[in-house]
């Protein structure tokens, strides 16, 4: 009995130690340090990039969350936002400046927000947007394994989402199955902004030595794809490289991240 108790205490102390030092903030999960294998990289770059541990929101930012932000920051309201920072259509599924309405349920992910708006929200909360490397690292985990590629159910969920149209009214954020880190809906509810989405080069795969790309983009010839079978990863690259920072898209939302 005593021995068991001691063992339990020692174990408990071991667990409590690191956890206390790095307890995730409310609503966030810890993604431990690990490797990210970019789909495209310069020809001399290593195959994987080390990503330090970070916290990420368990679910996307919701309409209700974002309403709190625009209440506190009038310059981010629909009628007042600068066209430099959000194109027309910004929060276009809301009923008004401060009314969500039937097309934007309070617990659904906020969409039709620009990168500038998403970033301003994150800063307002003392957070930031995840980098591409962080986001992809989080999304590489499956439901039952840190290696999502080896988790058929996880891969199927991603492909299933990619093959169906976006519903006119989005379901609640955070209702999906959590992955091994406790993060939900990363790949099967909406697309998500990343802080450095503009690191995706237009026509990044210039294996054909296209003159246009070489002229428009310095270093464009250096990229090669890691895995031509990773369809969802190609879709994300295509999607990100098609975006501008003021764009708003009906199935593009975001979640926040935080350094340890």
């Amino acid at each position: 009995m005593t021995r068991h108790l001691t063992a339990a205490l020692v174990l408990g102390a071991c667990l409590a130690g690191p956890a206390a030092a790095g307890q995730p903030p409310a609503g966030m999960a810890l993604v431990p340090e690990g490797d990210y294998a970019p789909l495209f990289r310069a020809k001399d770059d290593p195959a994987t990039v080390r990503v330090p541990a970070f916290y990420i929101d368990v679910r996307q930012v919701t309409n209700a969350d974002f309403l709190g932000f625009v209440r506190a920051n009038p310059n981010w309201r629909r009628s007042q936002v600068s066209p430099l920072f959000a194109e027309s259509g910004y929060l276009g599924d809301w009923s008004g400046d401060l009314e969500l309405g039937p097309r934007a349920p309070s617990d659904s992910p906020v969409v039709l927000v620009s990168w500038f708006a998403a970033r301003a929200y994150a800063r307002w909360r003392g957070l930031r947007l995840p980098s591409t490397a962080e986001w992809e690292r989080a999304a590489s985990a499956g439901f039952t394994s840190a290696n999502g590629a080896a988790d058929p159910a996880y891969r199927e969920a991603i492909l299933a989402w990619l093959s169906v149209p976006t519903p006119p009214v989005l379901p609640a954020a955070g209702s999906g199955r959590p992955d091994v880190y406790g993060v939900r809906d990363l790949t099967d509810l909406v697309w998500e902004w990343v802080d450095d989405f503009n690191a995706m080069m237009p026509g990044g795969d210039s294996a054909d030595n296209s003159g246009l790309d070489r002229d428009l983009v310095c270093g464009a010839g250096g990229a090669n794809a890691r895995d031509f079978t990773d369809y969802p990863a190609f879709m994300r690259v295509a999607f990100r490289s098609s975006l501008g920072a003021a764009y708003v898209v009906p199935n593009l939302g975001f979640r926040c991240a935080k350094s340890l």
Partner: protein
């Protein structure tokens, strides 16, 4: 399927704009209110709404909005660039030389570095001397977050590789006196006449 379609449509839109080197952007909607002092007033399209503080190559803090009232020729670059940046800076020099004296006196030529780590104000100073850049040139160092925001405002894509080199869009932007994008010279175009005309128009 709709998602796929949306992606490709978006892709087409982007390819369209990126492909048109030297597209003229209509100066838009200067919503200055008459009688209000101009100092604090920024038009809704002014990139000077991005309110970061930069450091020039003399170590002085600089707000982009301090360039208000002048035509500005601006590019993002880095001093260790081996290929495109010398061409971009060369094109900016040619624009400067081609301008009539009064526009030339008024215009500013701004280079903002992607490389927050290596392009310190001191490194930019060395670059200024090496390239013999005159007093109309402003060389800026910024924090990575501010560099990213400016790139987003201008529509510049960039990525750092493992050697610390940057792959980046090749873009020269002409700003009018309100800080609105008046003209974009994309690619390594050698014809600078339209950019020159945009600076002259912006100086009026």
């Amino acid at each position: 399927m709709k998602k796929t379609l949306a992606t490709f449509l978006l892709g087409t839109v982007l390819a369209g704009t990126a492909g048109r080197a030297g597209e003229a952007v209509k100066p838009c909607c200067a919503d200055d209110v008459k009688g209000v002092t101009q100092a604090a007033q920024l038009s809704s399209r002014s990139i000077y709404q991005a309110d970061s503080t930069w450091t020039d190559d003399a170590g002085r803090p600089v707000k982009l909005a301090s360039l208000k009232g002048r035509p500005v020729v601006l590019a993002m670059f880095f001093t260790n660039c081996e290929f495109a940046c010398p061409i971009i800076v060369g094109n900016m020099m040619r624009i400067q030389e081609a301008l009539p004296p009064e526009s030339r006196a008024n215009a500013r030529f701004v280079l903002v570095s992607f490389d927050s780590e290596r392009d310190t104000p001191a490194a930019l100073r060395i670059y200024r001397e090496r390239m013999r850049l005159g007093t109309a040139w402003v060389l800026l160092h910024g924090q990575p977050d501010d560099v990213r925001e400016l790139a987003m405002v201008l529509g510049v894509k960039y990525a750092r590789d493992s050697r610390g080199q940057f792959a980046h869009s090749n873009l020269i932007t002409v700003l009018n006196s309100a800080g609105e994008i008046a003209y974009r010279l994309a690619g390594l175009e050698s014809d600078i006449s339209a950019a020159e005309q945009a600076v002259i128009a912006a100086a009026r």
